[in-house]
């Protein structure tokens, strides 16, 4: 298992080295590093793949709504993609409650995207509670990053 994984990584490295001028998979279109607008990278970097929440809240603030409006527009245009919305919480709560809170956050995002015209059957949700922090310090500057819902885009229709 480990050996096979290592081989894949090596192969990936070679592929990158071999075609560094144009990498279709990542959608890199030129030397300035911008992505083609129908790619996952474009969604993640330019549209914005995540929104943030106040402590113990799942309501969408103005900033979140502007990100989700852009996500909805992109998803309506790029119908080959489905999404999973991951809800997360910071570390300042108990495990089960944070799972429920993350589910609320993911659901709030899904409901908003659906209200903007994205088909519900393209969207799945999952909560990771406090189990997958991206910012690791124990201070508000990290906790505010962890209280998030991340829209993960993948090719293909939702199951």
């Amino acid at each position: 298992m480990r050996a096979r994984l290592a081989l894949i990584l090596v192969a990936g490295g070679l592929a990158l080295a071999a075609c560094s001028n144009a990498i279709p998979n990542s959608g890199l279109s030129g030397a300035n590093g911008s992505y083609k607008s129908d790619t996952v990278d474009y969604f993640n970097t330019t549209v914005g793949d995540r929104v943030h929440f106040a402590v113990d809240q799942s309501t969408l603030d103005a900033q979140a709504i502007s990100v989700l409006d852009a996500q909805a527009a992109w998803l309506i245009k790029n119908t080959v993609y489905s999404i999973t919305v991951e809800g997360h919480a910071d570390e300042r709560g108990t495990r089960a409650y944070n799972l429920a809170l993350g589910a609320r956050r993911a659901s709030a995002v899904k409901a908003y995207l659906v209200s903007k015209g994205v088909s519900a059957n393209r969207i799945t949700t999952v909560s990771y509670g406090k189990e997958r922090p991206i910012a690791l310090c124990s201070a508000e500057k990290c906790w505010s990053q962890n209280r998030r819902a991340v829209t993960v885009v993948r090719a293909g229709a939702s199951s």
Partner: protein, 447 residues
């Protein structure tokens, strides 16, 4: 304990670890028995001595020493007893059946004396005999007992001796021969790898139950100690599984579209209380394990989760944010009107009903601190027992006198460890584990 079922004879040994009552002359009566009261908060630990157990065969000398070490560790570790070490002891015990020289033990102020003998029979079978004495009354407390088991069961035998001593001196059931299911964690905070594991209550005999390929959370023992409920992300979504720790067979509970988590057994082991999230709303359900039939217990737009049955199975404690923040409620086991019982400062979660039925343990979050606490079932007499950056997830010792929980340290390198504390807030101890550890579940039974 795992390989014990391999040999039928060994299975019989583990199922019974039989208690054979040996004939011991009862000492003269005294006005009051030697007794340590553990209901009060402040206790002067009772001095006791355990002189080296007599090894009746040459091969049993080391194991005799090891057994005494575990007995002493159990008793002193409870915080209720203080060992008078061997180098302070005036005399030893060279003949298990010879009369005890009480004056030698009175002189060093040992109030309780444990004597024992260890023999090793065919196939390494251990037999441990022991007696407990009230030194100042010069009496034997209860009859002599003997425990037998396989060579590898020596720790269990020692725990059973310590349980008997604890029980005779406190009037409470011992908790040393018990196990804990928990989550063993490795790796940095941002990429934690977790697996389910089992250990003895003192951290010995670590055994992994799953690999670490999926996130696993919050194992919960069945009342008979044979099965563990837990939540796994192996399907991509948190789902509740039940695992038989002897056969290692496992299955997912009845399928659900959404997430399921926070499971706990009913006292009869036949039903599972769990939380389901659908369309972002989490409510409590109970599922019959045999039929797969699932009944919804709460219907509310708020979060209802972390349910725990009362030991008589008639009520359920759970947490809900229906008031605007996490608080603890109690409702009938079939659902229905719930009474809020937590009214102190801050938020309250993870209620767990004591096996004695008298108390509910919980996690309290207030002013940026996390506490483990207990309150009576009506919410009165709340006591916060611990305080730290993050204390969470209490679980009861089988006798309802001690709690385990986990404590996570702050910061980028923060990590969890399991601790125990008694219900008066004394004797806070870290349980030694081979890796980071969280989500303990203490077994009541050990079959």
């Amino acid at each position: 304990m795992r390989p014990l079922h391999v040999l039928p004879a060994a299975l019989a040994a583990i199922l019974s670890l039989f208690l054979a009552q040996s004939v011991v002359a009862q000492g003269k009566s005294r006005t009051g028995p030697l007794r340590i009261e553990i209901t009060n908060g402040v206790i002067e630990p009772m001095p006791f001595a355990v002189p080296a157990f007599v090894a009746t065969t040459a091969t049993s000398q080391q194991v005799a020493k090891d057994i005494v070490g575990v007995i002493v560790s159990d008793l002193t570790g409870s915080g209720l007893f203080r060992e008078i070490p061997p180098n302070a002891q005036i005399s030893g015990i060279s003949n298990f059946d010879a009369p005890v020289q009480f004056a030698d033990w009175q002189a060093i102020n040992a109030q309780a004396l444990v004597t024992g003998a260890v023999s090793e029979g065919l196939g390494g079978r251990l037999t441990v005999k022991f007696r407990l004495f009230d030194v100042f009354a010069q009496t034997s407390m209860g009859g002599g007992l003997q425990f037998s088991g396989g060579r590898k069961d020596w720790r269990r035998i020692a725990h059973k001796v310590a349980d008997t001593v604890y029980s005779r001196l406190t009037g409470e059931q011992g908790y040393f021969d018990s196990r804990v299911a928990f989550v063993s964690e490795t790796g940095p905070k941002g990429q934690r790898m977790r697996r389910l594991a089992l250990m003895d209550y003192d951290g010995a005999n670590y055994r992994a139950l799953t690999d670490d390929r999926s996130i696993v959370l919050a194992p919960r023992f069945s009342p008979d100690g044979t099965r563990v409920l837990y939540t796994s992300y192996e399907t991509g979504t948190p789902q509740v599984f039940v695992l038989n720790t002897r056969t290692m067979r496992r299955r997912r509970l009845a399928d659900t579209k959404g997430m399921s988590f926070a499971p706990r057994f009913s006292p009869d082991g036949k039903r599972v209380l769990l939380s389901l999230s659908e369309a972002g709303n989490t409510d409590l359900y109970v599922e019959n394990l045999a039929s797969g039939k699932r009944t919804r217990l709460t219907v509310a737009p708020s979060i209802e989760t972390a349910g725990s049955f009362s030991p008589d199975g008639k009520q359920i404690a759970f947490e809900s944010d229906r008031s605007g923040a996490q608080q603890i409620y109690i409702m009938p086991a079939g659902g229905g009107e719930a009474q809020r019982i937590s009214f102190g400062a801050g938020r309250y979660g993870t209620p767990v009903w004591s096996p004695r039925g008298d108390l509910i343990a919980f996690t309290n979050i207030n002013n940026g601190r996390f506490h483990i606490g207990v309150m009576r079932v009506d919410g009165s007499e709340e006591r916060l027992l611990t305080s730290s950056f993050l204390d969470e997830g209490p679980t009861w010792a089988p006798n309802g006198r001690v709690l385990m929980f986990f404590r996570e340290t702050r910061g980028v390198s923060g990590a969890p460890s399991i601790y125990s504390v008694d219900i008066s807030g004394r004797n806070l101890k870290k349980i030694p584990t081979p890796a980071y550890a969280s989500d303990p579940s203490w077994s009541r039974e050990r079959k």
